[in-house]
Symmetry: C3
Subunit: 333 residues, 3 copies
């Protein structure tokens, strides 16, 4: 009996399922009622199992285990099921789930990145200590919603108005260009692979530059950072050695923080400054939606694989290799 690749139908499920089919797996999409259409139309799922809510996952888990299912996590799974529930999952799970608690805690993330030697933005514990323009990010914020910019303590209090009770972090606003770096670390080969780069396309912040200064005057709108999509980009090639080095250092520094340490896909979210330094403001310890840009081609992984190799397909390839080498325990956590 074949192994099945299982994922929740959202976030990056199309490429996860499509990549699994390319590698010969049986594929199962878990859909919430009313969201089946894309997964049917794109023909990526051999099986669609519809549930009423994420919480119903545990009711079908035994069936998935019987089908030799391996669950691939992504941000929607983490957001909607929650880390505590994820820890209770008994079916095969791709990745080290002990790293998720580190990822969920902004302070722990920054400690991890700093220890890896990466440059991170300055954070301020209180509005009173702000000495430069900052971006205020809420914990558990839903894809950038509610984030705001404040140049000083006064602006902070003016804008925090309606959100005073949520947990937040006050982070230096780094002026540069956002670049998201997609990595894949294989515990089977002990190699870091660079899977590419994207830039988030955020509403409305990526639209406001289209309004001239004179038109913005007297036009009341607030900047917001809700992710609506992603766009492709390639990096200046002379920065790639640093990119590989950053990825390796991040994996290494993860090992004291989690059972096995970080493996599989992950992403460093950076601002690249005019001096071409990377300021890393966040890490995602799993597949990011920016890799959806590269389902049908990938300017980086094509160099190595000479065929379309999405991150979803790379995950399936890793699992296939682990099965062939009888090392599945190395990539389930």
């Amino acid at each position: 009996m074949k192994y099945s690749i299982v994922t929740f139908a959202s976030h990056s499920a199309l490429q996860i399922l499509h990549g699994a089919k390319q590698e010969g797996f049986h594929t199962i999409a878990l859909t919430i009622q009313g969201t089946e259409q894309p997964y049917k139309s794109f023909k990526v799922a051999d099986e669609i199992i519809t549930i009423k809510s994420y919480a119903d996952f545990f009711a079908i888990e035994p069936e998935l285990t019987n089908k030799k299912g391996i669950l691939i996590p992504h941000a929607s799974l983490i957001a909607y099921l929650g880390i505590d529930a994820i820890k209770r999952i008994k079916m095969a799970y791709f990745g080290d789930r002990t790293i998720l608690s580190v990822e969920a805690d902004r302070d722990a993330q920054m400690a991890w990145l700093s220890e890896a030697g990466l440059h991170v933005p300055k954070t301020f514990n209180t509005p009173e200590t702000m000495d430069r323009p900052c971006i205020i990010k809420f914990h558990g914020a839903d894809g950038g919603r509610g984030y705001f910019l404040a140049k000083n303590q006064q602006e902070f209090y003016e804008k925090i108005g309606t959100n005073p009770l949520k947990k937040y972090v006050i982070q230096e606003y780094v002026v540069g260009v956002p670049i998201y770096i997609h990595y894949f670390y294989s515990p089977l080969t002990d190699e870091i692979e660079l899977m590419g780069f994207d830039r988030r396309y955020e509403s409305n912040v990526d639209g406001i530059g289209r309004i001239a200064f004179k038109d913005q005057m007297g036009f009341a709108f607030e900047t917001s950072y809700t992710v609506a999509g992603n766009t492709p980009l390639v990096l200046r090639e002379s920065l790639l050695p640093a990119v590989f080095q950053m990825g390796a250092a991040t994996v290494k520094a993860s090992r004291i923080r989690a059972n096995q340490g970080l493996y599989g896909p992950f992403c460093l979210e950076t601002m690249v400054t005019p001096d071409l330094n990377f300021c890393v403001f966040e890490i995602s310890a799993r597949i990011v939606a920016g890799t959806n840009v590269y389902v049908s081609h990938n300017p980086y992984s094509y160099l190595r694989y000479n065929e379309p190799m999405s991150t979803g397909r790379r995950i399936a390839r890793e699992i296939k290799t682990a099965i062939e080498q009888n090392q599945l325990e190395k990539i389930l956590g």
Copy 2:
């Protein structure tokens, strides 16, 4: 004798002709004198017929009919030949041309979209009734040229200055990010397919954000919206069910407005707001130039077809299937 795919050499002709060759058709490019070079260099046309102006089309129409030509319409054909002339075309024509009159009338468009249940921007009949910032769009405007933004009645009259006699529409300016959705509806399978997304690259509005506020002060330039090109993007996957639903509703609502209703490629032009709602400000009832981004690969159609499937090739595939199934009348209008 083979069927021929015929199109005017502009807009999206390269992908239409290339896609037709991929599907095995004979291809004919109708070029206006002096524009042949790209079509020669890219080797997409088995035959290039040069005419002096669009109006000369009718002189060569019998020849095209003799060659079993099927004409593929696009925006340049519509703009330069005109809807009335298109109605007089006797050769085989892909698509329902009765929908073009609806598309050409901004009020009829909005009625169509509203009836499909889509969210559309508020429009104002007179500058006096404007109660928020608006974008003023001229009827028959040439690819965004002349559009302007006005925050109130006073600004409207200041800026309308040199254009007072043209017909215009006053549309609420929605702050968000522009996303153009490419669809294909097949009357042979009764399925909506999602072909992808793009963002227009407009001069100068996509350049002005590169001028800092302090440099814009005292720098006299007017914002303009002329389409210079297109850039790729992927959409947040959790929004795809809504995208499919919007496409289906648009096709359904077209059926009382046209002989057969809308089929083949079409595009919903939207702003995505910070709350992740689609505000649909326009519909194109035919192939859009944004699909040119996806000639050599397509992150969405690749999921379904596992080969490069541009919208141009999808049109040719539809025609080929219709011929094979002896249902050509279903896709000619």
Copy 3:
């Protein structure tokens, strides 16, 4: 014995080496100590030769000649080795190196482009003669670093402050959208091929539009134009005839300026205005990094070649054809 394709491991070396492997060449990457990792990971180099600095090139040149090496130049080679050193290279060199001195001199560049009939931005010899907003570019500036915008003579002197001794050019600031045009001219076929378009992604100028006007007030940052990466785009198809014409005119006008004239890859760097005119502000007489966007697919070259054809691969294809036709001297300079 096979020919070897040799290049310095930076700028566009990944695609040059990968393309050469696709065409069957032996590939050699010359890396500076510490930069080997990307070239190993992506498996593009059959051989990696590590040197301490660019200047050590001449020590290994005889070895490269023995391996029938053909050196492919790019901007990093030119920047770090220098034109004078390049003239002393004895091994086979792809391209006409006499054009490099023209490219390096901004005045000579503008004379070349003007003579080709291209529209170029107005330049001012002194700040005192400025009659419109200008961008000030330093000679030999490192990828846009230090460029600044000045609306008038007074701003010029305020901002030039720390850089008063460097050579600079004062160029009209054209408001439009930046579009970089990638060409390939083959002396074997005497054909201009269009390889595509990109837009540079510059830090911080492509990030500042994300800061609203009210947040830019009181936020001290200077605009800078350091290239961090590149993003893909397609051009409005009706502009392609002009694009081909511009490329042909540029090649023609190069012939009085260099031994053989310009051949191989080159790039016109333009602003496209709201009236859809190309204002050409620079030419690169060799491969540009923007072509890195198209390693795995290319919406334009796919039309002609029906396979992935990066500019790096196109170079290798040209060399392969020249070898087969015994015309290698036509493409070495």
